[in-house]
């Protein structure tokens, strides 16, 4: 889907890269190393972000952090509000998530409902020791008591604005743009 013409950049490719490196460091510091970490990306763009975070962590710490995908479609609370979405497979690393520290990774944190669904989906897959949340952009307007542990950029928005995250893996370029609302 094209980004509207009035969109303006809020994160460039370099800034996205720096934000992910910083989040990688924060995760390591909070976890006191990479032991028992599992990164689970929420499709679609959370998955490449999780992979990039794993690479950032590996470049600091060495070793490999397991990365998976957590499809939340079957746990959404808005299924009756639109056309049916195909559910995809969740891919959990072979090591599982029991007693691990799971970091959920998504591109934008908004109402919090996606993360609520992700927590439900996660609880059916096992019992992590702790669950943390890393997002590239936090745009506010929470509807549930959920907050991110690691944020690339806090981006105050109005509800009528749209945040467009584009990543090389899914869209061919790295950029975060905002469109709609009144120019600020």
């Amino acid at each position: 889907m094209p980004i509207p013409g009035d969109a303006r950049d809020v994160l460039t490719a370099d800034e996205i890269s720096r934000a992910l490196r910083r989040i990688g460091h924060e995760i390591l510091e909070r976890n006191k190393g990479a032991d028992d970490l599992v990164l689970l990306g929420i499709p679609s763009r959370g998955v490449p972000l999780a992979r990039r975070l794993a690479a950032a962590i590996a470049s600091v710490e060495g070793g490999e952090v397991p990365v998976g995908e957590l499809d939340i479609t079957l746990h959404r609370d808005d299924l009756r509000r639109g056309p049916v979405r195909a559910a995809h497979r969740s891919r959990i690393p072979a090591s599982g998530i029991d007693d691990r520290v799971v970091v959920l990774v998504d591109d934008v944190l908004y109402s919090g409902r996606t993360i609520r669904a992700a927590l439900d989906a996660l609880s059916e897959l096992g019992r992590p020791r702790a669950v943390r949340l890393a997002v590239l952009v936090d745009r506010g307007h929470r509807e549930l008591p959920i907050r991110a542990d690691h944020v690339g950029k806090n981006l105050p928005t109005s509800r009528d604005e749209r945040v467009h995250v584009r990543l090389t893996e899914t869209d061919g370029l790295d950029v975060v743009r905002i469109s709609g609302g009144e120019a600020r």
């Binding site: 479609t73 079957l74 056309p83 049916v84 559910a87 908004y110 109402s111 996606t114 945040v163």
Partner: protein
């Protein structure tokens, strides 16, 4: 996708692909400790079976329960139809209880289609007479795809009592949609009338002889999978073939035929929709062989029926789904958070 699933022809290729993709996600659920998702919480599904069934009814029931729907089983024998109530009144009575879906098995061809005209809820055809059994075809396609990958160009032979088989009709439609080549094999007495025109229109092959097809000498060449159909003794009023022994000699997947088949292609798959008449259309050696995916079919049955219930009931309060709204599309392609609201 349509509101009802009466015939395999109701589904476009994209619908079939979406259901099979979702079924993959559902299949994962079967391997988990907690086999339940909240997706259809608050929905009610009635399994109304006017004919005996083990796997179809129980798999629909399990599918509904694992999706958190409330599922209720009714049978023709224990319902008011045995007191003489018409099918129309029975269907409308059930529908008036505000159920969301009616899964229906009926001995009359066209019964599910007819009921769909009378009710507000979704109707899923779980087998109507000798007409269709669309979810069986979907689970067969799922089983084949999970072993063979993309079905484009793959050759599937469907063998047996075609005249009385609803499985074969739905399978031909679904397999053709996915790009497979299909050959149907039956003795002349069990080959449906008018199949010549159908096979010409839908581009599938027919044969009165099994061995040339299994030998790869027929028009579609070597087979990737053989689907044996049940000889439906309950629908046989006699005269279709001289003796069971003669049927087995001509059309059964015997041990010798299996050995020849495996010698040509060790990866060949053997399917059967069940229940099997061991020793009649399929030898025990073939049913229990490494090539047999009969139990995979049963296991896929639950996943596929979950996917069908999901696609018919999850969106838009059961209303027929149109093209996605621009807002939904924007949300889906920008942020998960935007889409969930």
């Amino acid at each position: 996708m349509t509101r009802h699933l009466i015939s395999s022809a109701d589904l476009g290729r994209a619908d079939v692909e979406a259901i099979l993709e979702t079924a993959g996600s559902m299949h994962d659920l079967q391997r988990r400790e907690v086999k339940k998702v909240p997706t259809l919480r608050g929905r009610t599904v009635i399994n109304f079976f006017f004919e005996d069934s083990t796997r179809t009814r129980s798999s629909f029931e399990i599918a509904g329960k694992w999706m958190s729907a409330d599922t209720i089983n009714l049978s023709g024998k224990g319902s008011s139809t045995s007191k003489g109530e018409s099918l129309r009144d029975t269907a409308m009575t059930v529908d008036a209880m505000a159920v969301d879906a009616l899964v229906m098995r009926h001995p009359a061809s066209g019964a599910a289609h007819q009921v769909a005209q009378w009710v507000r809820c979704s109707v899923i055809n779980a087998g109507d007479g000798t007409h269709e059994h669309p979810t069986q075809a979907l689970l067969d396609a799922y089983t084949l795809r999970s072993r063979l990958g993309d079905l484009d160009g793959k050759h599937v032979a469907i063998v047996g009592d075609l005249t009385h088989s609803r499985v074969f009709r739905s399978n031909v439609i679904t397999l053709k949609k996915l790009g497979a080549r299909v050959t149907v094999v039956a003795p002349p007495t069990l080959m449906p009338s008018g199949i010549g025109a159908w096979s010409a229109a839908d581009d599938f092959a027919t044969s009165w002889e099994l061995d040339p097809v299994l030998a790869g000498e027929h028009e579609h060449g070597p087979v990737d999978a053989v689907m044996m159909l049940r000889v439906q003794r309950e629908r046989m009023s006699g005269g279709y073939f001289p003796t069971a022994r003669e049927y087995t000699v001509g059309y059964g997947l015997t041990r010798d035929r299996l050995e020849t088949l495996v010698a040509r292609n060790p990866e060949v798959l053997v399917l059967h929709p069940g229940p099997m008449n061991r020793g009649l259309e399929i030898a025990p050696e073939a049913a229990d062989s490494p090539q047999s995916v009969v139990l995979d079919q049963v296991s896929a049955g639950v996943a596929v029926r979950m996917a069908v219930l999901y696609h018919l009931l999850a969106g838009d309060d059961g209303a027929p789904s149109g093209p996605p709204s621009p807002a939904t599309l924007a949300g889906a392609t920008t942020t998960n958070e935007g889409a969930v609201r």
